[in-house]
């Protein structure tokens, strides 16, 4: 992807989003934008609405109030979904017995969008390239359920990037993954962001370990209590309040 040709308008525009589960407020009046090239971490305590916000952005949930635009279009009318990659929250919802090989699991993304014009050989090359990018090229025939949690997450990332999306959403992608694998994982995301020009939005509890890679932080606690550059966040009132509140944030010194 040629990053110099990327449109400078926001990729995602979130305006005054509020959401309730029944009568319980989850999000209150959240407004922010995601620009091309961002590597954005969405952080916040459990129950702060992070996953709900991402699902609203992706059109999986309807907000009680507010609007979302993707590439300038209202999300309800957006159809160019091959520009968006999504790795949902870890897979208690994935059936470990599902009879799909890793290659088939990644190739599913091709069949979802209309890629009938694409030759079979090109699809296979794209799948192979995506799997190589995540270091899973030697596992193509293995059943998806036979992999470890970390390996599965890599395959789901391969699936999310196989169509070369403009923006990749990940919901707590390193849950249950060991520390060394997490490092490789973030290095890989960093490469996708800096070399391939893919905008990355990641929900995480682990603010410390992404110190090296993230350039933007959105801190959520029903309301958006901070949105801006990562360096400024660590000095911000919001960060201090979050730590003082005893909220679960993993911090690693690097």
């Amino acid at each position: 992807m040629d990053s110099s040709a990327v449109d400078l308008k926001p990729l995602i525009d979130v305006r005054n989003i509020s959401f309730n589960y029944g009568s319980i407020p989850v999000l209150k009046d959240v407004t922010f934008s995601i620009n091309p090239g961002d590597f954005l971490a969405i952080i916040g305590p459990n129950g702060s609405g992070k996953t709900t916000l991402v699902k609203i952005i992706l059109g999986l949930l309807k907000p009680s109030r507010g609007k979302v635009r993707i590439l300038g279009q209202p999300v309800e009318e957006f159809f160019d979904w091959n520009r968006i990659g999504y790795v949902p929250q870890k897979a208690t919802h994935i059936d470990p017995l599902f009879p799909a090989s890793i290659k088939e699991a990644v190739a599913m993304e091709f069949h979802a969008v209309s890629s009938r014009g694409m030759r079979k050989r090109d699809k296979e090359l794209s799948v192979a390239r995506a799997l190589k990018h995540v270091g899973m090229e030697d596992f193509t025939s293995r059943r998806i359920g036979s992999l470890s949690g970390g390996q599965q997450q890599r395959v789901f990332i391969a699936r999310a990037i196989v169509n070369q999306p403009h923006i990749l959403f990940l919901d707590e992608p390193t849950t249950g993954v060991d520390a060394e694998t997490q490092e490789h994982f973030y290095d890989m995301l960093d490469s996708l962001n800096k070399k391939e020009g893919i905008t990355i939005v990641m929900i995480t509890h682990d603010i410390g370990i992404v110190n090296k890679h993230v350039n933007q932080v959105a801190c959520l606690n029903q309301r958006l209590v901070y949105h801006g550059a990562h360096e400024d966040f660590c000095r911000s009132k919001a960060f201090k309040e979050m730590l003082a509140g005893g909220h679960h944030l993993i911090s690693h010194r690097h």
């Binding site: 059109g59 999504y86 790795v87 090989s101 599913m108 979802a112 999310a160």
Partner: protein, 257 residues
């Protein structure tokens, strides 16, 4: 075998049976993977109510059964979404009500006779020529639609949210799958009867899934499971179960090695 195939009624039974069996098994794979195996059982009881209604009104029971099965299947789907019922609860409710309504209507129609028994236990050998072509046409349509949407069904079954974000119209495909299931159950009723149609949908598919670590061998497994299935509803189901047992053992032996 030559003698077997020289009789017209056996030829009709074979033709209809093969097509219906393929439709049932193909759909059954997705129902199992969606954890919806019991929907066949529930819809079979609803179909019983539809058949009884048809006998009561003296209108083609197959047609009425089809309409009742499709509408009820869609109703179960809506109930799961809107009323927040678990899938198996919704099926249990409709299943019991369907059976009860069927019993009442059958009594009112005074149809506790050969007609009803044929629907309960299957009468593929008595299938009329007109019914054969209708059954084959419907089965071909079911198979065609499943194959056309095969990859999208796979994706939404494997990871519904990711499929939705990728542009798969999961809501519409849910409706499609539900309607296809209802049609297939009604078709399957002709082969093995209302009491065992659920087995026709589930067991061969389960047998195929025993063999598969990826999706293509599932279909081969289905073919093997169906190679010798035809005469008699109970025999079909027992044979299907024997194949399931065989493939299960093969899988265990391979694991031990």
């Amino acid at each position: 075998m030559d003698a077997f195939l020289s009789y017209g009624f056996l030829q009709r039974a074979l033709l209809a049976g093969i097509f219906i069996a393929v439709a049932c098994a193909l759909l059954g794979v997705f129902l199992i993977l969606r954890r919806d195996s019991m929907i066949g059982h529930g819809l079979a009881h609803i179909t019983f109510a539809g058949v009884a209604l048809g006998l009561f009104l003296k209108i083609i029971p197959l047609g009425i059964a089809l309409a009742v099965a499709v509408l009820t299947a869609l109703g179960i789907m809506k109930l799961k979404e809107k009323a927040g019922l678990y899938g198996d609860t919704a099926i249990a409710i409709f299943s019991s009500v369907g059976l009860a309504v069927g019993i009442v209507l059958a009594t009112l129609a005074q149809s506790y006779n050969v007609d009803l028994f044929g629907y309960l236990f299957g009468d593929i050998l008595a299938i009329e020529a007109s019914e054969v072509w209708l059954s084959v046409a419907l089965a071909v349509i079911v198979v065609f639609i499943v194959i056309l949407n095969y990859h999208r069904f796979m994706y939404m079954t494997f990871d519904r949210e990711a499929a939705k974000v990728s542009g798969v119209k999961v809501g519409r495909l849910d409706v499609l799958l539900t309607v296809l299931t209802a049609v297939t159950v009604v078709l399957g009723m002709k082969v093995v009867g209302i009491l065992l149609v659920s087995a026709l949908v589930v067991i061969p598919a389960a047998a195929g899934l025993q063999l598969a670590s990826n999706f293509k061998p599932v279909l081969f497994g289905l073919f093997l499971a169906y190679s010798f299935d035809l005469p008699g509803s109970g025999t079909i189901v027992i044979l299907s179960f024997l194949f399931f047992g065989l493939f299960f053992l093969v899988k265990r032996v391979n694991k031990v090695r």
